[in-house]
């Protein structure tokens, strides 16, 4: 941060969070309409209270990273989108990405259900900052949500907005679901009326996105964080989490056989209390289906940081696998889903992932695993052959999961090779459809 940025920050004193938001947490316990939203979080700072550049400076100081899984710094995206927009004299487009895609993850839907106006506020603020008059909120059509009709709820929230006051017109777009539909280039392709698959382009969506304009695609949780930073400031944001991974975060937690719950926490918090209900556990899946398994002993003592877990927090999935389940079966179940979700565009992904999935199924079945040698070596070899060779990171994330399974479930692998399975319950735990 430069001296100029600091000067700008002093000019506008952030409000402190109203008592409700301070006491009850960043998310309310029930859905809020626009008036309740204002009472809960405080009013959205008016356009003249946040001079141009101030919000970006705060975001940079806060160190916000994308919460969709990849963890890319938001500030750098803003800089490159606004640079591209200036260079090409085009108005950029802002997209809040609510296509969670992953069947096990619920935090984005949870956020949109309880506080849709937080996401809409974030869109308005980013729109003002980047001088965009158009912003899009993309959500999954018929998104499965235990609580009710999410699309209708969000549509009502959008209709409650005052466009003249906001200065940014928000469009709600329903997008077909699917694991890779939320990948930014795939999402932009859908919004442009295309097939909704990851694309090869010489320019990223930051330069050529929706309608050819420079486009900022950001996960809805990240967009909501912008709305909070605009109100309470960067230092409030940095009070949460660790220096390396600051900010409040939402996690989807599976602990045992109960329904998943979305919890509000931050990096640096101990992991074990979140999953204690599931004890005894065998392992914990961290990040998402593109994430990694970690062993139970590590999960019991580690804090939620990338440094201690050895794996990134990704899209915030934390799934504890009870000791009576088989980690290899679970991984094979997820891997089959991931292979079938391949767009089938790139050879290594189209041919490699089903091959890896079939071998994983073979390894998960003790009868087969005992009969055929070399499954693990094949899995290792094929994983190396697909990594980094797709248009998107679908193959990379999928082999990350497989590799972590082969490391964490070493004893299970040895047992299966001997023809026995240590897990009693062979039903899959996590959803995969």
């Amino acid at each position: 941060m430069t001296a100029i940025d600091n000067g700008a920050r002093e000019a506008v004193v952030p409000q402190s969070p109203p008592s409700q938001a301070r006491e009850n947490g960043v998310l309310p316990s029930r859905p809020l309409n626009v008036a309740e939203h204002r009472a809960y979080y405080g009013a959205l700072p008016a356009a003249d209270r946040l001079p141009l550049g101030e919000l970006a400076a705060r975001i940079g100081h806060a160190g916000v990273r994308g919460r969709g899984g990849a963890g890319f710094p938001l500030y750098r995206k803003i800089v490159s989108v606004s640079g591209a927009a200036r260079a090409r004299r085009l108005q950029p487009t802002i997209v809040a990405n609510g296509c969670e895609g992953e069947p096990a993850s619920h935090k984005d839907k949870h956020l949109l259900w309880l506080a849709p106006h937080l996401v809409l506020d974030g869109l308005v603020l980013l729109g003002r900052e980047l001088r965009a008059t158009r912003a899009i909120l993309a959500i999954e059509a018929d998104a499965p949500n235990g609580k009710g009709d999410l699309v209708r709820r969000v549509r009502e929230a959008v209709s409650e907005r005052d466009v003249r006051q906001d200065g940014v017109h928000i469009e709600l777009v329903e997008v077909p679901g699917g694991f890779i539909a939320g990948e930014s280039a795939a999402l932009v392709s859908t919004l442009n009326g295309g097939p909704g698959l990851p694309t090869y382009t010489e320019h990223s969506v930051r330069e050529h996105g929706v309608g050819g304009t420079p486009t900022l695609v950001q996960n809805v949780e990240t967009v909501a964080q912008v709305a909070l930073i605009a109100r309470y400031g960067a230092d409030w944001f940095r009070d949460y989490g660790t220096a390396a991974e600051p900010g409040p975060q939402l996690f989807t937690v599976y602990a045992g056989r109960r329904q998943p719950r979305v919890v509000h926490s931050a990096a640096g918090a101990p992991l074990w209390p979140l999953i204690a209900d599931a004890e005894p556990i065998d392992a914990v899946l961290i990040g998402g289906y593109h994430g990694s398994w970690i062993s139970a002993p590590l999960a019991r003592k580690a804090r939620l940081t990338e440094a201690e877990l050895g794996v990134p927090l990704g899209a915030g999935l934390i799934a504890a696998l009870p000791a009576d389940r088989c980690g290899l079966t679970e991984t094979a179940h997820i891997m089959r889903y991931l292979a079938l979700e391949s767009a089938g565009q790139c050879g290594p992904c189209l041919n490699g992932l089903p091959r890896i999935a079939a071998a994983m199924e073979q390894l998960a079945d003790p009868h087969h695993a005992a009969r055929y040698a070399g499954i693990v070596q094949n899995l290792q070899r094929w994983s190396g052959m697909v990594e980094g060779r797709g248009l998107c990171h679908h193959p990379d994330g999928s082999v990350r999961l497989v590799r972590s399974a082969l490391t964490v479930f070493r004893t299970e692998t040895a047992a299966h090779r001997a023809g026995v399975c240590t897990g009693g319950d062979r039903r899959p735990l996590l959803p995969a459809s």
Binding site: R336, A339, G344, L350, P354, R355, A357, A358, A359, H368
Partner: protein, 197 residues
């Protein structure tokens, strides 16, 4: 130099060029279909396609130069580049001139491939599918050795060239159909049955 030497050199290099361009076509089709030649790594197909097409320029140049220099029939320099400007067999020589022009376009765009848009290169490269039939027609019209319609072994050679390129095209279409049918679910099924077998 004996006049007939020039004439027969022109005829012979023409036939060699036909064979080389047939090979270039087949290799190009193999590259587009991501095929692999036995004993060659995959990049070898591209390298061979490129090398043979550049080599064929030499034979084409000799073919054209001897045709101009030769006094048996009168073909002007202009007639080798401008289609249908020849007084001798305007149609068949004219087709040769069209082929020369297309050849220049193909080679120049390929040499400048790094500097032009891939779309332009691709569009121009599709002209190869026009270039090669024109070469065949030119050969049929003038390839007899005496300047008339093709006959004898030259005819059989030309037929063999046509069949070879058709075979390559057939392979390409079959591969493409097979690939477009392939989905992750289908690959997974195949893999599973391989595992169970």
């Amino acid at each position: 130099m004996n006049a007939s030497v020039l004439w027969y050199t022109s005829q012979a290099t023409g036939i060699v060029s036909l064979v080389l361009y047939t090979m270039v076509m087949m290799l190009g089709i193999a590259v587009a279909g991501q095929g692999r030649l036995p004993g060659l790594p995959r990049f070898g197909t591209v390298a061979l396609h490129r090398s043979i097409s550049l080599l064929s320029i030499v034979f084409l140049a000799v073919h054209i130069a001897t045709a101009i220099l030769d006094s048996y029939v009168n073909i002007s320099v202009l007639a080798t580049f401008v289609p249908f400007a020849s007084s001798y067999e305007p149609l068949w020589v004219g087709l040769g001139a069209v082929a020369v022009d297309l050849m220049i376009a193909l080679v120049v765009t390929s040499l400048l491939r790094d500097r032009i848009s891939p779309r332009i290169w691709r569009a121009v490269h599709w002209l190869a599918y026009a270039f090669w039939p024109i070469v065949i027609a030119h050969t049929i019209g003038l390839g007899s050795g005496s300047g008339g319609l093709i006959s004898g072994w030259e005819l059989w050679l030309t037929i063999a060239c046509v069949l070879a390129v058709f075979a390559a095209l057939g392979w390409r279409i079959a591969v493409q159909l097979e690939r477009s049918r392939r989905t992750p679910a289908q690959v997974l099924q195949t893999m599973r049955s391989e595992v169970r077998a």
